[in-house]
């Protein structure tokens, strides 16, 4: 579904060139949930923005559903780090924004918006304004907005990083539930090993400066997963420890 081949990204700044990504290749199959983890400066957000078409790669090629990415597209949904809700629009109208931009059928869209809001537990909040909602609720609205146009690919850029620890845990559980229900292709950037282990089929570890693909860890643990005392805690604990080590030990840069 997503093809990333030999992608490099170099930012030209006043202080000289900064190499953000070096020859990264990755294939994400249909319905797969892939998490990208790495320390800050590893280019994980850059990679996501390249797939979203928000910026273009210095070299290499990116395809979604077989066609090269030339700019933002309708079959790709993007969820930002911050909710980015329009403060003057009600919750419902915020969710409907993409459907207005794409001029989709109004009645269908409204029905779908209500369905999505129900799904994330915001039933009855549709007429509220964003400032009346908590941070976690705002981010749920943002998730609904990213899903309303039924994208084939959902890109999430550290979507829970601005929330407190418990709200994060809640939303992680919820996203897992959603994913089990509708199995869309997701590329999820995070710096939280816990989120990656709970949500992903595969976890891609990037190493920083320049961002390179270090390792891909397969998470073959049955869903629903949790970090509490259930059947999989031992397996998940093992994977967490491995990812932790990968992130904490620097890798020799081969030039």
């Amino acid at each position: 579904m997503i093809g990333i081949s030999n992608v490099s990204q170099i930012y030209r700044t006043r202080g000289g060139d900064v190499e953000a990504l070096r020859e990264v290749s990755l294939d994400v199959v249909d319905g797969e949930f892939v998490a990208i983890v790495g320390r800050s400066g590893c280019g994980k957000s850059s990679l996501l923005r390249l797939v979203a078409g928000l910026q273009t790669a210095t070299s290499g090629e990116i395809t979604v559903a077989g066609t090269p990415v030339r700019g933002p597209r309708r079959d790709v949904g993007f969820m930002f780090q911050r909710p980015a809700l329009l403060p003057w629009r009600s919750v419902l109208d915020n969710v409907l924004l993409p459907t207005e931009v794409f001029r989709l059928d109004k009645r269908d869209s409204r029905a779908r918006a209500h369905e999505l809001l129900d799904l994330v537990g915001l039933n009855g909040f549709d007429k509220r304004l964003p400032h009346e909602l908590s941070g976690g609720m705002q981010q749920r609205v943002s998730l609904c907005r990213a899903l309303i146009q039924q994208p084939r690919v959902l890109l999430m850029d550290e979507p829970f990083s601005a929330l407190d620890a418990l709200t994060r845990a809640d939303l992680t559980v919820e996203l897992q539930r959603l994913q089990m229900k509708q199995a869309s292709t997701v590329l999820f950037v995070t710096h939280s090993v816990d989120e990656a282990v709970l949500l992903a089929d595969r976890v891609v570890v990037l190493s920083p400066r320049p961002g390179r693909l270090r390792e891909i860890v397969q998470i073959d643990v049955e869903r629903p997963r949790s970090l509490g005392h259930d059947g999989h805690s031992a397996e998940l604990g093992e994977l967490r420890a491995r990812l932790h080590d990968l992130l904490m030990t620097p890798e020799e840069v081969t030039r």
């Binding site: 928000l54 933002p72 597209r73 930002f80 980015a84 924004l97 931009v101 794409f102 400032h131």
Partner: protein, 266 residues
């Protein structure tokens, strides 16, 4: 029955004590200022034509209430017409200015120069150009209001929050969609900053215009009563101007709170 209902009714409405703390300070301020004014006229035994006491002003206002009311309406009409004209011209101009860097650089210096011209100096010229009717007054109000409205609207339009701009980009909105769905509504709080500033200037503009070549309006009333040494009446007219300014300002604020309830919370 009534006894039992009272506390419930009180709880349902806005809390009365909260209301008190909200309205008491401004009332106290006005009362204190009037008392001080009155004390000065009594203690220093000031002549009435130099500084009339609040009581004399009150008497003049009640005796000539019809005259003052008619003139208040004239000034109010000029103020509102000029203000409306400034919105009608200023907002579109702000759109044009923010649409292109080149236009901004062409128009801004002109605007600044126009704003730097002392409006008092323009008032007599307007009479020469436009005669003694109401139009030169409306036009002067327009000149005074126009600048803050253009500047604040332009500032609002060019300071759309970065995450909302990015959102528009990710949805591939075209120029018009970005403008209509994101930039314009995001600029409204800034627009109101300019409107509130402009409305207070508008009243001043109307009075300045009425000082020159007018036969009615509160500005004219001040000049006329000053000439006949009826200082109490002049004070009455000035008080009405002040009240008008305050009422218009808070009216705008109420409109803002109604239409932009999200303004200072996002």
């Amino acid at each position: 029955m009534t006894v039992a209902e009272t506390p419930r009714a009180r709880r349902a409405g806005p809390r009365p004590d909260a209301r008190w703390t909200q309205h008491l300070p401004p009332v106290l301020g006005v009362v204190a200022a009037v008392a001080l004014w009155w004390a000065i006229t009594v203690v220093f035994d000031v002549e009435s034509f130099i500084l009339p006491s609040p009581i004399e002003v009150g008497r003049a206002m009640t005796e000539q209430s019809g005259y003052l009311w008619d003139n208040t309406l004239v000034t109010l009409a000029e103020t509102l017409l000029g203000f409306g004209l400034a919105i009608a011209v200023g907002v579109p101009l702000a759109l044009i200015v923010t649409a292109s860097r080149m236009l901004e650089r062409t128009v801004y210096p002109l605007l600044l120069m126009l704003n730097a011209v002392p409006k008092v100096a323009v008032a007599p010229l307007l009479v020469v150009w436009m005669g003694f009717g109401q139009f030169p007054k409306v036009f002067l109000v327009f000149l005074v209001c126009f600048f803050p409205i253009v500047i604040s609207t332009a500032a609002g339009l060019s300071s759309t929050p970065a995450d909302l701009v990015e959102l528009g980009r990710s949805l591939r909105t075209n120029w018009w969609q970005t403008f209509r769905m994101i930039r314009m509504p995001a600029a409204v709080p800034q627009l109101f900053v300019g409107l509130k500033l402009a409305i207070t200037l508008a009243v001043i503009g109307a009075v300045i215009a009425e000082f020159v070549g007018a036969t009615e309006g509160l500005g004219y009333a001040i000049v006329a009563s000053g000439a006949s040494a009826d200082t109490a009446l002049a004070f009455g007219a000035m008080i009405l101007l002040g009240v008008m300014s305050v009422v218009l300002f808070y009216l705008l604020e109420a409109i803002e709170r109604f239409f932009v309830p999200w303004a200072d919370r996002s």
